[in-house]
């Protein structure tokens, strides 16, 4: 028994070292004074200052944040509707196609999604004159299409593990479907919607390939700017940027994790009280 415990522990230690050393090395070298990223020349925060003066990066970051927020909101609305349809409506015509269209984008290589969306936008512009040119609108549409899939999966799996007796009881008492949805279903799946929103937000913020296809002149997102810098080799201000992103994400994930754990606990307590009462 003991040797198996050691085996598991060493697996975890090595696995997590593999996952985390690259990220930690990024952060470590962001405080390096030298321009040669990996040659240590003393502690310095010069690259953070340099980053904050770089308008190209800041503009791109602001643009990316705006696109990510709109995208996440759109994806949560569409994804909730799709997840609800798949989990609660039983069999309906075209269900297989809907389920396929919400699974395929998850794994579709980005070059295919990006190329095919660009072709659609070009053809649509030729036929209807919309979308006019390419830029923020086309990037947002492309990102929503990609991230709806993630939200759908999250919502659907949340709904299918949930027993629908509450919804049925409300219906028996004569509540209208839309009221049941907003008063009962929505609050219950709220944590799933929050994680779906956050996931869509980060995926959009992170996407290089699809955005590169459907972006137009003057709509360079943050990953596009990073990519053009990184192609030239390592540069310490990118390390500084990476460290800031890692810090923000860690804070976000930890807060979300604590919040969800707390809510889960409250739900369990409520259920116990309901059972005891």
């Amino acid at each position: 028994m003991k040797s198996r415990g050691t085996f598991r522990l060493s697996v975890l230690v090595f696995g997590f070292a593999f996952l985390y050393i690259p990220i930690l090395s990024l952060i470590f070298y962001s405080f390096n004074k030298s321009r040669l990223v990996t040659v240590w020349a003393g502690f310095s925060t010069v690259w953070y200052g340099r980053l904050l003066e770089n308008n190209q990066v800041l503009d791109a970051a602001w643009l990316s944040l705006k696109i990510a927020a709109v995208n996440a909101t759109g994806a949560v609305i569409l994804g909730t509707l799709a997840g609800l349809s798949l989990a609660r409506f039983g069999k309906f015509r075209g269900r297989t196609l809907l389920s396929g269209m919400t699974t395929a984008p998850l794994v579709m290589p980005e070059v295919i999604t990006g190329l095919s969306l660009l072709m659609l936008f070009v053809v649509m512009e030729g036929l209807f004159g919309w979308p006019e040119g390419r830029g923020v609108t086309t990037i947002t549409i492309a990102h929503i299409t990609l991230t709806v899939a993630y939200v759908t999966v999250i919502v659907q799996s949340r709904l299918s593990t949930l027993d629908d007796s509450l919804e049925e009881a409300a219906m028996d008492l004569g509540a209208r479907p839309s009221k049941i949805f907003f008063v009962i279903t929505l609050p219950i799946i709220a944590p799933a919607l929050i994680s779906g929103w956050l996931l869509s937000f980060t995926i959009s913020l992170d996407d290089l390939v699809i955005a590169s296809f459907v972006a137009g002149p003057g709509s360079s997102t943050l990953p596009m700017v990073i990519f053009s810098k990184v192609r030239m080799g390592v540069s310490p201000d990118i390390n500084a940027l990476a460290s800031i992103i890692v810090l923000l994400v860690t804070i976000g994930v930890v807060i979300a994790g604590i919040g969800m754990a707390r809510q889960e606990k409250r739900r369990l307590r409520d259920m116990q009280m309901a059972a005891a009462g």
């Binding site: 697996v11 090395s25 990024l26 040659v39 295919i112 990073i226 990519f227």
Partner: protein, 306 residues
Amino acid sequence: MSAQAPRPRRWGLAGRNLVVAVPYFWLLLFFLVPFIIVLKISFSEARIGIPPYAPLLSWADGHLVQIKLNFATFTTMIEDSLYWKAYLNSIKVAAISTVFCLLIGYPMAYAIARAQSTWRHILLMMVILPFWTSFLLRVYAWIGILKNNGLINNFLMWLGVIDTPIVMIQTDFAIYIGIVYSYLPFMILPLYSNLEKMDLTLLEAAADLGSRPFKAFLTITLPLSMPGIVAGSMLVFIPAVGEFVIPELLGPSDSLMIGKVLWSVFFTKRDWPTACAVAIALLLLLVIPIVLLQRAQNAEARGAHR
């Protein structure tokens, strides 16, 4: 409303249709229709102009007068060994990376699933956390680690193990590292959710009947976790085949990966029909893995309801 309906319908037909129709319409328009357009353009002839391909259908007075299918892009693709090599190489790279992801990911998922429940959530969060930080920046981190005066070489030279740096960056090895590293969470998560809900009494029974742990693992745990293995492998394999960023940043400049070929055909040569043809061929390659993934996920979902 039919009498044999298993449960009362709580959404009116109109409301139901509206709920389904909105996401349906969006995905049809922005996910399915684009593939049809890509298919169409792949049969067009490249030309200089906007858009840079010739129309397939010619219309006159509202009548279809001509359909011009051009197979040239596909015949070039078949004749030009570059495309073949890129296909085969992409499949090879993705397959080998998937195997390594499985070899690292399975023991990790297993160890997490069998950890104490307080630890389980923390460990799981630690698997997901890197996935939330920028993919591009995590790939970039490996440049700093693998390059000639990077972390590994500096460390080994400091130890005195080597005198001259080992060339790791811009090699196929770096591509494998990048893919395994980036896609490892996609392997661990489905495996974990499978292993976590496994019925442990089966293993106890096997132990009671005198089976050694390793044999019990091979005959019980491994077969039962097959849907997780298939799902995880496909989640790694499918996107890895078309990967662009990793070979571009870590691999040799002449590395033949189909995602890179598509990118350069489109952005450098500006040959839209050929880019579309490459996309169609890549899509055909992925049909079987996608079907496998769907079946594995359905099997998992059924297992969860039981």
